[in-house]
Symmetry: C2
Subunit: 425 residues, 2 copies
């Protein structure tokens, strides 16, 4: 009766887990702060690694903690868990592999590394007897990863929709009130909410890494994040928010994965969201994940997706799980290819030099592909030589819509490329 032996009473560890923090930035110092202030049972901060360590030293950290600029020194020391908070593929990956090779456990917030190499690192951990935990890698302070691993393990998740990037949500929320992208980006950069090079965030690369991690945990599929082609939010203009409002919607960066027939569709990009949908509620830099299960229906998680302290809570929670003797959760997952075909409603915004017959031509091109128009909206007050107007279409095959738009694109009434966005129901 092996399971009986495994479920035997847990006892406190003989000595606490010795913890080394790699990366003493916003999150790393918040982790150290919680470990120092709250002193969760079974955890002892023993080492801190950072470059230019003298600039980083903090007097509120216990004097017994060893500060070092030498990663190898700490990796060779008698620590039990490496908390990796440096981010990026390397050298973080190198440190993590070395730690796992030595049978140590790892807690990380590194979404990129986990999205690309998570499966391989979990196998390595399993082989060497350690653990790798990454509850902080997606939606920092929101316990969506433990929620999926534990509380929804009994369901079959059919769809995930999320606001996974706080920077994009901040920018799009501000654009709702009429501001243009560049103005809001500059403000976000001044506030520290956006990076100097915002490509990872606004381009959707950060969100797709997180989406692929959630897909693995929720849908048990293993995808190469590069297969999800993100749409940047830079494509959206203030006028689109105005038209979206007329349609009872707003615009959010949505990361979405869904089982459609035998395959998985996944997308990241600006998307029209009905104002009545929970996903429209996320304000400021908030994150939100909506999970739809075959048995349990819709579950919504929301909160602070990033920031030092919320992310640190997720890291410390993972450390507490290790101290409690958390078992590895082996998530069986099959490698799948992302389907390029989906079937959703679309918002298409044209900018044209006005002349008779444009609507008829557009309607004709859509009809040729058997795509039904849902609404045509044109606001007054725009110049005749650069007139924005919107056509929404009922759910249709993305390949058919692409053919229709390619045909429309060729017509010289276009002043700019038509913008098409998915619409959530």
């Amino acid at each position: 009766m092996k399971h009986v032996a495994r479920s035997s009473s847990s006892a406190s560890p003989i000595r606490p887990l010795r913890i080394a923090i790699f990366g003493f930035g916003t999150v790393g110092s918040s982790v150290a702060r919680i470990l120092t202030e709250a002193r969760p049972e079974g955890l002892e901060l023993t080492h801190i690694f950072n470059r230019n360590i003298d600039r980083k030293r903090a007097d509120w950290v216990d004097a017994s903690v060893l500060w070092s600029e030498n990663a190898n020194e700490i990796l060779s020391a008698g620590v039990d868990v490496i908390v990796e908070l440096a981010g990026g593929l390397e050298p973080a990956g190198l440190w993590i592999r070395r730690a796992l090779e030595a049978g140590k456990s790892v807690v990380t917030a590194n979404k990129k590394l986990i999205a690309y190499h998570g499966v391989e690192l979990e196998l390595l951990a399993a082989e060497k007897g350690g653990h790798i935990k990454y509850g902080a890698a997606v939606a920092g302070g929101i316990p969506v990863i433990p929620g999926l691993e534990q509380g929804l393990a009994g369901d079959k998740i059919e769809r995930i929709e999320g606001i996974l990037n706080g920077t994009c949500n901040f920018i799009l929320n501000k654009m709702e009130t009429g501001a243009e992208f560049e103005t809001v980006l500059a403000e976000a950069q001044m506030l520290g909410t956006a990076e100097a090079d915002p490509t990872e965030d606004v381009g959707g690369f950060d969100a797709r890494a997180k989406l692929s991690i959630l897909m693995r945990l929720a849908m048990r599929v293993h995808v190469n994040p590069d297969e999800i082609i993100p749409r940047p939010i830079t494509e959206v203009a203030a006028i689109d928010f105005s038209y979206a409002r007329d349609l009872g919607c707003t615009i959010r960066q949505i990361s979405r994965a869904e089982r459609v027939g035998g395959h998985i569709a996944a997308s990241v990009g600006p998307t029209l969201v009905p104002l009545t949908s929970p996903i429209a509620w996320a304000r400021g830099t908030a994150n939100m994940v909506v999970v739809n299960g075959h048995y349990g229906g819709e579950v919504v998680f929301s909160g602070h997706g990033a920031g030092g302290q919320p992310t640190a809570v997720a890291v410390v929670s993972d450390l507490i799980a290790l101290a409690r003797g958390s078992r590895r959760i082996e998530i069986p997952s099959e490698q799948v290819t992302i389907g390029t075909e989906s079937e959703v409603a679309h918002y298409i915004r044209f900018r044209v030099k006005d002349e008779p017959g444009i609507v008829a031509e557009i309607a004709g091109a859509l009809a040729k592909e058997k795509i039904n128009i849902n609404a045509i909206v044109q606001k007054p007050g725009f110049p005749q030589d650069d007139l924005p107007f919107v056509v929404t279409v009922e759910p249709c095959k993305s390949s058919a819509l692409k053919r229709a738009l390619d045909a429309i694109r060729k017509r010289d009434f276009n002043v700019a490329d038509p913008l098409d966005l998915q619409m959530l129901p």
Copy 2:
């Protein structure tokens, strides 16, 4: 290095966990359905107990499953886990104690039993080497219990606010559009959303049991649920929704616990909620829990709080955790007494026989207790001999407000007892 031994690689159990379901109602049959259809690894349904078993037998259940009306027979059989879904204190408590005494594990959705006897049952399980898990006891399909146990373990939770009773939420949502309580209750009873005797739900007893479970997991305090005096939603009339809307609010049954200075305040009852607050979003029978952590800030969980399938997902997730060799999470908790003093804003609705000087008298009684009035709202169109109007007051000590209201109550301009409701900020 004890923790290293504990974190050694997990292997699949040699044989699956043998599971007995006690209570084949809506939730029990949904659990059987998931175990039969999805066949999660490591779980085998072997026994089903119910009264009048012949009425219950379902042909989609594996022929190998033993159906019985004899609880003792199943408790003596070689099952590993009892899934208790009968509810109520007895005989559920008796079955669970017998199973735990025998070293078996228990998964239950029984909020009442866990609220009153959870600590004792956990101790018994620990002593005998079994587990007791109750992720389905609060907010059924929403993984708030694993979220608190795992994902927020690293935080210090300072406040919980929740919509924990779907029946009350359904009724109050309907009352928003002008219907009176009795009409909506009758509709809810017809739909099966409310029981024939709705006292447990509308009286707040169901919600206070759930709140006390959440308080233990989130705030690490152990309270006697009877110390939380619930306010029934029956006190609220359609006119209160109308006044609430004028104040930018709606009314929800809110269960709330908060650390205030050295003590814990807890309440359950109809409460004014700003329309801009996430807690106003819960529609229909939805549940919602908002947790506020010292480090991580606000986290919101929402979804289906009840219903066969969502609750069954929570039960099956607990079973999967047992099959994975889940460790017991020992939540240290101190027994505390609920404080009666809180300091929140209040909505007070009077019904008076109009005469000069009433507002002056009320204002005087409040001023005597140093309570500041925030707003006075009186809608036109009501009869002079039964005139409803509302006074809202700024956050004040509940004892001071009680003294002021006791003084006002004595005045014979009152046609009905003043209704005072807490207001969330």
